[in-house]
Symmetry: D2
Subunit: 390 residues, 4 copies
């Protein structure tokens, strides 16, 4: 990653991510890593007192530390261009995404929003329309797409190196919700298992959506129909904590998607296997620097991050030499790097370099919302197949 | 494996497994390994000339080398007890299993038969009835159950070490049928893709049945309903070469079963993951000496073959010290060892030691046939769930 | 890592690390990650023009962007306390470390210096004396000690969980110098293979010193004598590119240390195995989140970063949940985090929390210099053992 | 492995390997596996009563079950050619190898002998002379050379695929002697730690010799000088239980050899890494079906047993398809298969096919004895290097 030029540092605000939050700190680490943007404003909690205290913890100036996001937005609109934020990062629980994202987008701000994007397809469509109308940048932090070897996989599949894709198996297995953790005061477990805040799905929304995005990113395949079995395997839970899906893709490929949060002992076992007529790719998030390529007619190959023979999109997503592990924060930072490259192009009035402005967009987020909606519909249906379209 | 006593060597015949066959030689290696039985008679092909030539290749005496299995059976029935075979091993293509197995079983012979046992549930039931009526030994070579660490997994699950089982994921992936190999003169590919010889299923029958058996063996869970998607992904193929199944088990556990022969580059990727409330087990056939145990509340443990802390059923399935790999043939030999222990108990008129007489039985084979039948029915159905029972 | 309080951001300067440098950017990423310090001043190259251009690239203010380190030091001494740097980070080629580090230390500045610390034991001793006299903080970036699982290994060995240590095997293998890369204009290869800039050793100085430090950090064992075989296996090279050492430690433990830069195809294969009477630990830098523990009397355990059962020193070196990989930059940031905790304690006039102020110190750097010196002496000797002491 | 022809079954006798022995049963399993030879005679212990009881356990006919090896030899010499053994397998403790091997060799019998071959170079030379004089077959069971992927490694190195070899690191680590097991009545531990029966070396003789042989087999490199550090790390032990060696090879390559039996928790961790100018190979006995090839200028490759792109010497050492593990017994059987191919060639008066008659010979055994002798000499010396020659 070339850091040898010195464009001005961007400014960002954050909504959500205060005390007791988890993912907000990850976003801040990821943005800090490359030193391209400074954290200047925020409304860090839905509880005004906690929001202000959190902002003080993180060194926000008083005038830019707000008790709610409406105040933040109002204040930013009054500031001169050389003070105003370049983008806002929305890291609240899911149910808050929509109003905040829509308000900032409609006000002409560039936005980064966590996933799943919103609760319903209607909300997603409204957001897509707003972003298109404003012509602004809107990134969705499907962070796993930032791993260099995911980008290498995408390049290999898209270039035809695997031939025609026939079978995709993607899994995202965790064990942290294997007990009734939401009954113990755990804030993360509490909101993620609550339909009012998490949305219509639990595990499928939280991690199944990452799995869907990983398949779409790497293969470009479009889901034609879904057959889902969702379970609430921990007694007393209102949302699915385990889901298994059969998938059929346009063009004939078949797939399986598994997302579970009751797989005791598993940590963040996101893994993808894509088989085509010429070969198979295997990637695992817990060993992200390796991409295993099994050609049909030769020995297994293990591609590693940082190698000169990788695709440019994979090479530029890397900061340090091969063999020195990069991880989750670096991948997350790559997504932010893509967003910021696009923002800078907007600021310059230039066309963004597609290799640089490489990040999941509002349309990816909207597709993810539809995936959740159709999966929940399939789980409720006695028909084997639920089509994507209707 | 205690080899320090010297009971007499048993005698066996083989049906099938001649020139050009694959699995017959594996059976013979497996039987030879522990030196407990000698190969004395056979009808090694459905083509009489090839049968006789194959028997000569393998050193059968002329009087016990037969052109067809009917002649073998007739001859054995005439022989005195101290010459007659102790069991017959049936390693033909699938469609031949039923008549041969039934004839030998009804004639009072102990039988070992390859899997899938027969083509239909009716045949399977007839065979079960015959075996029960005769009170003979009947083993089915679900060979993967012979691995020590599969037996360790079974012991851990059955003793409650994983708590209540919630989720099972089993896969058996191969790549060898990713092209239209049956069009190239490959004998294995030819019969395995031919419904007349292979049965109603392709990949599901050949390897999906191993996956079903592995789940049943390790967990004891009973399938309640199946949702199957079977595909013939190589053009011009009449039987499934790829299958994905959602499973529901009695008692509420969920499962996924994947069997594919078009996963380019994969060799014999049979793998099992069983998650309970207290922990998860992971086993892979390609690294069979390891069983990974992930407790919910402590570090991952890697159990290895040959360790003194394993269950007795795992320990006795082992011949050499830990760290010296044992493989496929050894596991296969363990299945035969179980059959032979049961035969010896019959010969002695004693009750077999359950730890010794540890092998898949005719009922396991019959359950496997039903699994195939219900899976094919589900694949043809538009209903999401096809029940096991009807 | 608790980032919920908001002490003021520290200020740092960098010497070296300008255009074409490699490790300077890593230091800057590592410092940026946690947002605890801002980069405010520098002298980024020994070539004044390049130094100034590099500083502009990185956004240094003109008044704090210097053409040489002497100017940087002079300028800082004139600045008021609320502008002056809190520490300087020295990331030049090795031969420049000594004068810069000594000058800043003697001027009362806190210092972070890359390894190997200096060229000779005399220089090292002078530096140790200066730091002790001034009572300042002096960190040496043996960055691998920042990995959480290295800290876990240290805690387990130090607490006696492995019993008495008997055998240590440490390796650091790379392949990047397997060809005469220094003849191709590669700046890194150029200075690292030049005795005038790199010092008396090549591979042993660059990576063998990391291996020595890793052993000392984890085990606390002191080397008693060394038997070294150093080779220049690429024709025309003046410094060792491959070294193998037998080690004897005080108290009777034995060791092997291998450091090679001609191991074609290897990336950064740093690995450690420590065996005691009660068990063995195995750690590999390329999979840093795992620590394998092999007890003498039970199954292998795999400890993973982020688990609640780890030692506090390992837990606090972690930012994100288990299963989300952290890597090289995060480990590097942990070393800087330790230095900054100690600096903050100095600023507060308080005693540093040892769990927080966890970083390699000037004495570790000095021991590393002696290691290199004694290794080179051994390699030149025909006696089997060269003692550490003389 | 082609078993389709039916030459007559060979006959063999065994010396040693009775009740309580370990390795004898492994030899018998290995010979049984391919059904090429029958066990017809023996003198299975140095204690006549135990020898006879052991023979009865294993079903030897009374007339061929002897109380000592002299009686066995005398009896065999009286038997007609169509009864007489084709070879004798010597699996006694080390100190018995020499007299038995010499007597059978001088009597014109083909011999298989376990390693280390004998106690002294003088004995080894006498044996080599006897074998050459008689022109008989003499195999030494360096069984690890029977693994297909070891043969693949040998083929790749010998064909120049790695370029010029520069560095070899070989380790054989076990933990089973980490306590004073010989004081507990363990028969294996008892004789292996007793100089009178084991010879001048402990770990170096038992497993270091395998490591030496593996290097010689794969690379063909000749050791020029040795620098050894041997330790008796368990109190009260007379022979080394831990050894580390620096090696220099003719032609300039460097090496490290580590053999330890006090590495708590390790099982049979034999591993080899060979680096040349063009690439590196890595092989581990505990995952023997994989050979990792790291080219200098391309992605890592993982070659697996059973693949059509392997060298013929690796392909023919395989019985079953790729992905179905083969292990230790199969490798052992490959060594016996090589010996038997050579014996059959002798019986036929034909020249053996080198691909078939692939096994370690008496000269390999003699080189192994010299390796042990020079290593022990080096360990006793204060000079850094002890030359191989003198």
């Amino acid at each position: 990653m070339n850091t040898s030029t010195s464009p001005r540092k961007l400014r960002y605000a954050m909504v959500g991510g205060g005390r007791d939050a988890f993912i907000g700190a990850v976003h801040r680490h990821a943005i800090a890593l490359d030193g391209q943007a400074g954290f200047v404003a925020g409304a860090l909690s839905s509880t005004p007192g906690k929001a202000l205290a959190s902002g003080r913890d993180l060194g926000l100036a008083d005038g830019r530390n707000h008790g709610d996001w409406q105040a933040l937005l109002a204040d930013e609109l009054t500031r001169p261009a050389d003070e105003r934020i370049d983008f806002v990062s929305i890291v609240t629980p899911n149910h808050v995404h929509f109003p905040v994202a829509l308000a900032f987008a409609e006000a002409g701000f560039h936005v980064v929003c966590d996933k799943p994007l919103v609760h319903t397809c209607e909300q997603a469509d409204a957001l897509v329309r707003a972003v298109r109308r404003e012509g602004t940048v809107f990134g969705v932090t499907y962070n796993y797409t930032g791993y260099p070897m995911v980008r290498q996989a995408r390049a290999m599949v898209r270039s035809g190196e695997l031939g025609e894709i026939r079978k995709v198996v993607v899994e995202y297995n965790q064990g942290w919700l294997a007990t009734h953790l939401e009954g113990t005061g755990n804030k993360q477990a509490d909101w993620r298992t609550d339909p009012a805040r998490s949305g219509a799905a639990g595990a499928i929304g939280d991690i199944g959506s990452h799995a869907e995005n990983l398949v779409a990113t790497v293969t470009g395949l479009e889901i034609e129909s879904i057959c889902a079995d969702l379970g609430c395997l921990v007694a007393g839970r209102a949302l699915d904590d385990d889901g298994s899906l059969l998938l059929r893709f346009r063009g004939g490929a078949r797939g399986v998607l598994i997302a579970s949060q009751i797989n005791t002992g598993l940590e963040n076992d996101l893994r993808l296997r894509v088989s085509g007529t010429l070969g198979t790719l295997v990637w695992r998030q817990e060993q992200p620097s390796q991409l295993v390529h099994l050609p049909h007619d030769g020995p297994k190959r293990v591609l590693t991050r940082g190698s000169p023979w990788l695709h440019p999109s994979a090479q530029r997503a890397s900061r340090i030499p091969a063999g020195h592990p990069e991880g989750f924060i670096e991948a997350f930072a790559n997504v932010y790097g893509g967003v910021m490259a696009d923002i800078r192009a907007h600021l310059d009035g230039s066309a963004a370099d597609p290799l640089a402005a490489d990040y999941p967009r509002v349309e990816d987020g909207a597709r993810g919302v539809r995936f959740i909606e159709r999966t929940v519909a399939s789980a409720a249906s006695e028909a084997k197949w639920t089509s994507w379209a209707s």
